[in-house]
Amino acid sequence: MTDKPSFEISSGIAELLDEPIANKITAGIVAFFLVFVTINTFDLVSNSDNVRSIVDGDNYWTISFDEQIITLTDSVIVADGDTEIRAFTIDETLLDDGYRFGGISVTLTYTETSGWPGDPPDSVFANLIQNDLNAQWQDDNNSLSGSSNDGSQIDLDLRAYPGYDGQQTNTTGYNEIQVLENWIMDDFGIGELELEITVETTTSPIPFSPNDNEEEVNITIEIVTFKAIAQQ
C-alpha cells in the first residue's frame, strides 16, 4: 500500500491532454482567439483614438456631392385667359443607387405664336402648387412663382432635400457613417410636382394684323439628384 500524495496535479493534466485531436483543435482555437483579440483590439484602439480626436475637436470631414441631373420636358398650349395644370410624377425609379433628390428647377419658354413682327409677346404666369410633394416648401431660396410678358424664360426653383444647395460643406464627426447620416435620408422630393400656367394674350397694335388667342409654353424640368461623399 502506497501513501497518497498530498498534492498531485500531473495526473489531472495528463488526463486532460490525453486526446491528441482535442489538443490540436484546442490549440487551433487558442491561436484563433489570440489573432482575433489582437485584430479586435486594434479596431477598438482605433475607435478610441477617433473618439478622442472628436472629443478634442479635430476630426474634420469634407462633404462633397456628386450630382446627376434628370430632365423632363413637356409643352402645353394654353388659351387666352385659361389656366392649365400639368403634373409630373417624381419617384424613386428615377434615382440611381445611392442618390437622393436635391432640388427641382423648372424653366418655361415660349415665343409669340402669331409670327407677326409687330405682335408683342403674350403674358405667361407660372406657379408651383404646394401639395404633398415632400420638399422644403418654406425655404427662402425657393422661387415658386414667376411671370413673363416679353417672351423671356421663366425660372422656378424648389429645394427638395433639407439643407442641400450643392455646395461642399465641412463638418466634424466620428466616422463616415456618422457624418453622412444627414445626407442619406429617404423620401425627400418624392411626390407629384404640379405646375400651374396661365396665359393672357396681347393684341397687336397694327390694324388688320392677325391676332392669336393662345400660347404654346415649353416646360423643361431639371431634377438635381445627389450622392454625398465624405472625405477627411
Binding site: 497518497k4 498534492f7 482535442a22 483543435i25 483590439t41 473618439v51
Partner: protein, 443 residues
Amino acid sequence: MAQESLAPVAAITNLILGIITILMSNRSDNQTSHKRFSALLIGWTFILLSIYNFAETLLDQYYSFVAPTEIDFGLVSLDGIKGRDTLVLIQFGTDAALNIIMLVMALHIPKDMGTGSSWNSMVILVITLYCIIIPALIFLGGFKFAAFQLLLWVVVGIYWTHRYIRGIIGEHKTGEEQYRSESKASAVLLLIWLGWQMIWWLSAFSFLNNEWFVSVLTQLDAPPTNLWLIAVNLGWSIGAVTICALLVGEAFRTSKRGLSPISIIVFVVFFLGFANWIQDKLLLDAYYSCIEGNCAPESSIFELVNYLTSGVLIYLLKPLLFVYLMVQFQIIDTTSERNRNLTRMMILLILLIISSSVIELIQSLIPIPQMISGSILAIGIVFFIGWEEKITESFIGNANIADIDSIQGDGFNDQMLRNTSLLMSFIILYIIALAVIFANAGV
C-alpha cells in the same frame, strides 16, 4: 412595453436556491466529498449572485441602474452618496468573488484537476486570498482594474471548451456515455458563466461591439489605456469563440447521434447572435449620437430585445442550468430521504419562478390583461402541485450512471467542508464591511 427588472426575481431565487443547496450539501453524507464541495461551491455562488442582484435591485430602485457590464469593465465611479457607493462596491466585491469561484469550479467540475489534501487546501486558500486582495485593489487602484478579471473568463472559457471537445471526440470514438457527460457538463457550465457574452458573437466577429463601445468611450473623461481596451475585448471575444466551438460540436454530435436538449440551447443561443447583430446594426446612429454629447435614447423595442436575451440568460437561465447540473449529475444527493423535500422545493421553485417570469415576459410583448396572466400562472401552480411527484421524478430520474460518475475528484474531509462554508461567510462579511468602509471614507 415597459418591463420590470428581473434582478429582484433573480435575487430571491438565488438566495433560496443557495440556502437549499448548502443545506443539501451538508446532508449528503452518502455523496463523495468532492461532490459535496462542488455543491458548496454552487451554493455559495447562488448566495453571491443573490447579494449581487440585491445590490443591483436597490441601486435601480433608489439610485440609478448599474448594468452588469459597467461592473465587469469598471465603468462605474463613486459619486459621494454613501448608500449608492456602498452598493456599487458590494457589486464589485461579489463580482470578484464570483470570478474566482468560477475558476475554482472549472478546476473541479466535471473533473478535479488535482488530488490530495494540499491541493484542496490550496484551492480554498486561493479563493480566500483572491477575495481579500482583489476587491481592495480594485477599490484603491481604480475600478478599471476590475476589467482585468476578464482574463479569468478566457482561462475558464478555453479550459471548459477543451474539456467539451475532448468529451465530444471521446464519445465519437468510443461511444461511451461518460464522454458525453463530460462534454455536457462543460457545455452547461460554459452557458452558465459565459452565456450572456455568447449572444453577441456575431457583433464581436463583425467588430460591431467596438462600435457600440464608442458610446461608452465618449463618456470617459480621460483616454483609456490600451491595456484596458485589450481587457475589455476579452469578454466578448471568448464568448464568441466558445459559442462557435459549442455550435460546431453540437452540430457534429446531432448529425451522428440526434438532437439533445443541450444542443437546442446551444442552437438558440447561437441564433440570438443574429438578432443581437441586427439590433447593433440598427442602433449605430444612437451609439454615434453619444459623440455629440447627447446620446439618443434607445427605442423601447431594443430594450425589450435586451430584456429577452441578455436579461433572461443572466437572471433566469443561470439558476436553471445550475439546478439542472446539480440534479442531473447528482452533485446533491437527491435520492436521500432527508433531501427529498428540499429537492422538491428546489425544482418546484425554479419551475414556478421561471413560469411566472415567462408570463411576465409574454405580458411585455402582448399586453394581455393581468387577470388572464394571473389565471395562467394559477393553472401552472395547480399543475405543478398536482404533478409534483411526477415532475420531481422526471428530473431526478433523468440522471444516468455516466452523468453521476462523471463528476470525479479527490476527497475533502468534513473539517474542510465546514471550513469552506465558514470561510465563504467570512468573505461575504468582509466584502460588505470593506464596501461600507470605503464608501464612507469616500475613496
